[in-house]
Chain length 234, copies 2
């Protein structure tokens, strides 16, 4: 992707004076490197180099390496949230109600088109001492809770566990299949493959109940044993 200043004849371009654009360029570079090296491997020098920005400029926008890191992850989390839940500034109950499937679809598509972002978000989540405090994570879980409470859902879903399974699977699938080195068409197919399996799993599971009568009975017998409080995992 050519950067904004990219040049008639390659004359020694000087970046246009556009603080916001510069800031984003730095964040994007940081994001790329973050996806490659993880938080501890990020250096301001490398970021500046990749962003084609003077190191001093980077320090002008972000006082310290730590702040750059913080800003980058916040930026990623917000980008992810907007892509999946729309532009509503905070969890808009009305907009996302009953839209569990749409959320899943948008998330799968976004993850496939931006594998680096998902990777960064995950890196941060894993490095964080309190994974359960991430805003995107919480909004996602909320939308899943709404679905689980509706009459469309099977009873007895453990939302915390299920949210982990679905969210992480969706974000990591593009990385496993190396989405970055795929054509647009392939990526579309891979998204559909994932969505299909997710849908199939949601509707049918994996085990034929009639082949596991004792398990099935056990499951129905113990249903509801598990406490329904959502905060258990926190």
């Amino acid at each position: 992707m050519p950067d904004g200043t990219a040049v008639l004849t390659m004359r020694r371009t000087r970046r246009r004076q556009d603080p916001e654009r510069t800031r984003v360029a730095i964040l994007e570079a940081a994001c790329t490197l973050l996806a490659k090296d993880g938080p501890e491997g990020l250096s301001v020098s490398q970021v500046a180099q990749l962003a084609k920005v003077n190191r001093g400029t980077a320090y002008q926008h972000f006082q310290t390496r730590e702040q750059l890191l913080e800003a980058t992850t916040a930026w990623v989390s917000e980008k992810l949230r907007r892509a999946v839940f729309g532009d509503a500034p905070l969890s808009n109950a009305v907009a996302t109600l009953g839209d569990a499937q749409g959320v899943a679809q948008r998330m799968a598509e976004f993850a496939m088109e931006n594998p680096a972002l998902g990777r960064v978000w995950l890196f941060e989540l894993l490095a964080s001492s309190r994974p359960a405090s991430d805003p995107f994570w919480n909004q996602f879980k909320t939308s899943l809770e709404r679905f689980a409470a509706s009459d469309q859902a099977q009873p007895g879903i453990d939302v915390d566990v299920h949210a982990v399974i679905v969210l992480i699977g969706t974000l990591l699938w593009p990385i496993f299949v190396r989405a970055d080195s795929r054509t647009a068409k392939q990526r579309r197919q891979l998204v559909e493959r994932f969505s299909n399996e997710m849908l199939r799993l949601s509707l049918q599971g994996t085990m034929r109940p009639e082949k596991f009568p004792e398990l099935d009975a056990h499951l129905r017998a113990t249903r509801g044993d598990r406490p329904r409080r959502a905060g258990t995992a926190k």
Copy 2:
């Protein structure tokens, strides 16, 4: 934390001459730090310090930082594999046949007792350019393929997708719930919670099919459309 030279009372203990034990101590320290900082954040100095070993000793066992990293991740992958699939040196078809549920159970328990190992493995997998080449991953997928091909399984499972979902969910669940700061009893409960939801999901899915007649029909109509070749994701 007192360093190795610390002093009269603790007489300057010198590590027993036991290369293998020392090697493992270093690997274990590397593993801990790897889980905390990721591959790019690992320094030989820190590893040696944590392992209570002289930095020179570390360099005696591993010529370079890169080799230490390599050795550590290989060690982790093998440990994971043995914990889940037993001590058979290579994929023993007989031993693991039809044991999908046992594999899932062992993996969930191991992950809960060793969240750091799962984290390291995942870090490496994400950093790797070819995730699909990891031995543990492949053995896991093979065992899932066997199950999917059996008559106990629902037809139409997309093994590649499903393997990602299950494996990653199992490894990350302990991290989300901060297994390291839980009591043994809590950890046991958390494993069971995960296993129960997984079982429930496998037997029942999440959506009540009768509430989604059109989706259900679509699914049954297109069943088999997807190519069954296992290598699609590679």
